[in-house]
């Protein structure tokens, strides 16, 4: 039983390595002067639907004007950033449709090159806002969840639901400083990068389907932001698989556009205990240009054996705003498994293009190199071309 469940868990983790960004947080936008995710997202730590300000910012600062009439005022573009290109009339409800698809070429340029198209995300979100200053919030996101690649065409695939909710919560935010949220959410740990396949997300198991039911307390001031998260696992999972524990992430602002942060997470289920620590820095450089660096350590201790595993990761990202609508992203990642002393380094240059509001096109080229004492393995090149649409 343990073996088969472990296999499923490991397959899910492994499969995620080859999936591309789904999370919708853009922590690199510290380069635009936005230190906190809550400026643009309903969820204070990012991901999920964006709020009215986030939509307007995306339309008038991030997206290109290339496909708009030169005379069209920014104010009008901003107004059209709402659901179905309309300015919201109802003050209580904010729907959002979101789609991400990816053309993935694994072993790009090699004889064994494979090509797949993956519908990564097709979500409908609904946010309810009530009370003075929208202090009561309810959010639910429901949508398509692809069968992990490793499980496709296997008997297990039949039992995997391809529709699920990745986020639903109730929140109470009496003022700008404090907020409390309860429901299914991503755990508060590390920098919530858009690339959920990065080692900084896969190593502590914080990828596309790793949300957990729990409570998040969020504290936010210009100089300090923190979140504490107690969770009991995803209640749709079998009880023995649910990862229960707590997580916390804390950021301190230095010199206005720089943030240093620490994160901790301790969790476990019937089979494994996991403890993770991370430190990070995010810096806004010139207008729209930023760097992110995160380093972390994850200990995984199986309860049925003495073979504990310690993993290390780091990621460096440099996002460069070439012009309005075009961003170059330079990612360098490191992953080390302390058991066999092997390690991997992944270079991932990419280009993001927002031709107009509600459309993002992105191309990534990943070069992964394995370093091992045992053998020399040929580099792996993967090409990822994505489209992201939201209404």
């Amino acid at each position: 039983m343990f073996k088969s469940k472990s296999l499923i868990i490991m397959s899910l983790i492994g499969a995620c390595q080859f999936f591309s960004p789904k999370a919708e947080a853009y922590p690199n936008f510290i380069g635009h002067g936005y230190n906190s995710c809550i400026t643009c997202h309903y969820n204070p730590f990012g991901n999920g639907p964006i709020n009215d300000y986030g939509r307007a910012f995306s339309a008038t600062a991030v997206s290109s004007r290339g496909f708009y009439d030169d005379n069209k005022p920014e104010e009008l573009i901003s107004q059209e950033s709402g659901f179905l290109f309309k300015q919201p009339e109802n003050k209580h409800f904010r729907p959002q449709l979101s789609y991400r698809g990816m053309l993935l070429k694994q072993n790009f340029g090699e004889v064994k090159e494979t090509t797949d198209y993956i519908h990564m995300q097709a979500d409908l979100s609904l946010v309810g806002l009530f009370g003075e200053n929208d202090k009561y919030i309810a959010e639910v996101t429901f949508g398509y969840a692809p069968v992990p690649r490793a499980l496709q065409n296997t008997p297990q695939a039949d039992s995997i639901k391809t529709y699920r909710t990745r986020e639903h919560y109730l929140g109470y935010r009496p003022n700008q400083t404090w907020g409390i949220y309860a429901g299914l959410m991503d755990k508060t740990f590390g920098v919530r990068l858009v690339e959920h396949t990065s080692y900084s997300r896969t190593t502590p198991q914080l990828t596309m389907d790793d949300q957990s039911h729990g409570v998040v307390i969020h504290y936010n001031t210009p100089s300090f932001e923190g979140g504490l998260n107690a969770f009991v696992g995803n209640l749709t999972q079998d009880v023995d698989l649910r990862m229960k524990g707590f997580a916390g992430t804390f950021e301190y602002t230095l010199l206005e556009k720089n943030r240093v942060g620490l994160s901790v997470m301790k969790e476990g289920n019937d089979y494994v205990d996991q403890t993770a620590y991370a430190a990070h820095i995010r810096s806004g450089l010139d207008h729209g240009t930023s760097i992110i660096f995160e380093v972390g350590r994850v200990e995984k201790t199986p309860k049925t054996s003495s073979l504990s595993k310690t993993e290390y990761y780091s990621i460096f990202q440099n996002e460069i705003r070439a012009t309005r609508g075009v961003y170059f992203l330079n990612s360098i990642e490191y992953y080390k498994n302390a058991v066999d002393k092997s390690y991997r380094v992944r270079f991932g240059p990419s280009v993001s293009y927002f031709p107009r509001s509600k459309i993002e096109l992105r191309v990534d080229l990943n070069n992964t190199r394995n370093f091992s004492q045992e053998s020399s393995v040929k580099d792996r090149w993967d090409l990822l071309a994505q489209i992201h649409l939201w209404l």
Partner: protein
């Protein structure tokens, strides 16, 4: 109605032009042309009546204004100089000979030298601001010197300090802009983590080749010289690399594996960066020429020899650099041919 008025105006101007035959008439006509912004007619009228109007400072003043409006700055300067020399010589020489502290307003009260000095300062500043890489160096320095000189004279005769400060700011802005366009050279030191993956062959006595793949990582210490202006940065650099490699056979016909192999080499070549997006975050390319040799162990020297044991290769890097004062963080990803894997480096640079 409008059409009739225009026709009437044109008629009056044309008639006046024909009728004008005294300096005063011509002067009035010049002023009329100026008011109507018919600048070429101002100059035509002056040319036709130069003998008379050249002796009238008011006509010369209007001619200078016309030149100025048409951005014929050199001609405007020449005209103002003529006015000063022909009509204000005595006062001008007196001002030149008097120090600023001893300047008496009676020297220039009854003249328009305050205006002329300011105009000359302004026009020379304009000329200097419009210089570019095609302007002869002598002219550039002459315009700048003249502008500074006339700003000094204008200050002597108490021209409004705010106006003069504006001209000085314009001059300084141009000086700074020229400086930014000028290429400056610096030396720098570099320390990189570098990694590459390359291929060599184990060849047996029958000539059968076995592919060996080597994955190496280490440090590369060196430096270079760079030439940079506000838009571009060009460099020429080299570094000495010390690495360790794991090498193994790519197929199973011959089993070969060795780890922690010492590899040495150097990487050198020219590169460049664009500063289009930011002064502090640069993107560019580099053309590396790489030499490497490794302490590969030959399993049996009587049976095998290495091919590409020592080799020169060339390729390309795409590179980015983040500058924080004298220190830069540089990342490079590229390829050297004919190797299957990439060549990359992450390093720090220090500008001297």
């Amino acid at each position: 109605m409008m059409k009739i008025k225009l026709t009437l105006l044109t008629f009056i101007i044309s008639f006046s032009a024909i009728a004008a035959n005294t300096p005063l008439d011509n002067l009035k006509l010049m002023q009329l042309y100026l008011d109507k912004n018919q600048l070429e007619k101002v100059e035509d009228l002056y040319d036709e009546n130069e003998e008379i109007l050249g002796k009238n400072w008011m006509a010369l003043e209007r001619l200078a204004i016309s030149f100025e409006r048409r951005e014929k700055f050199k001609e405007a300067i020449e005209t103002y100089r003529k006015i000063i020399v022909n009509f204000n010589k005595e006062a001008h020489e007196k001002i030149l000979a008097t120090s600023a502290s001893k300047m008496d307003s009676s020297y220039y009260d009854k003249t328009k030298l305050q205006l002329y000095y300011y105009k000359l300062a302004f026009l020379n500043t304009q000329l200097f601001s419009k210089t570019n890489s095609y302007t002869p160096g002598n002219d550039r320095s002459k315009y700048k010197k003249n502008a500074e000189g006339f700003i000094g004279l204008a200050r002597k005769v108490k021209v409004d300090e705010g106006d003069l400060k504006l001209l000085e700011d314009l001059l300084q802005e141009k000086i700074n802009s020229d400086e930014r366009m000028t290429y400056k050279s610096h030396y720098y030191a570099s320390l990189d983590f570098i990694s590459w993956q390359d291929r060599l062959y184990l060849v047996n006595t029958s000539g059968v080749k076995t592919n060996l793949l080597s994955t190496a990582i280490g440090t590369c210490i060196g430096g270079g010289k760079k030439w940079e202006n506000v838009n571009f940065e060009f460099d020429l650099e080299g570094c000495f690399a010390v690495l360790t490699a794991t090498i193994s056979s790519e197929d199973r016909t011959v089993k070969y594996q060795q780890s922690s192999v010492a590899v040495k080499g150097f990487v050198a070549g020219p590169g460049m960066y664009f500063k289009t997006f930011s002064d502090n975050v640069l993107l560019g390319v580099h053309v590396p020429v790489k030499y490497r040799q490794g302490d590969w162990t030959n399993p049996d020297e009587t049976q095998y020899r290495f091919e590409r044991e020592k080799t020169y290769e060339a390729g390309y890097f795409l590179q980015s650099k983040i500058k924080i004062k004298n220190v830069s963080l540089r990342t490079r990803l590229g390829k050297v041919f004919p190797n299957p894997g990439s060549l990359w480096s992450i390093g720090l640079l220090y500008d001297f």
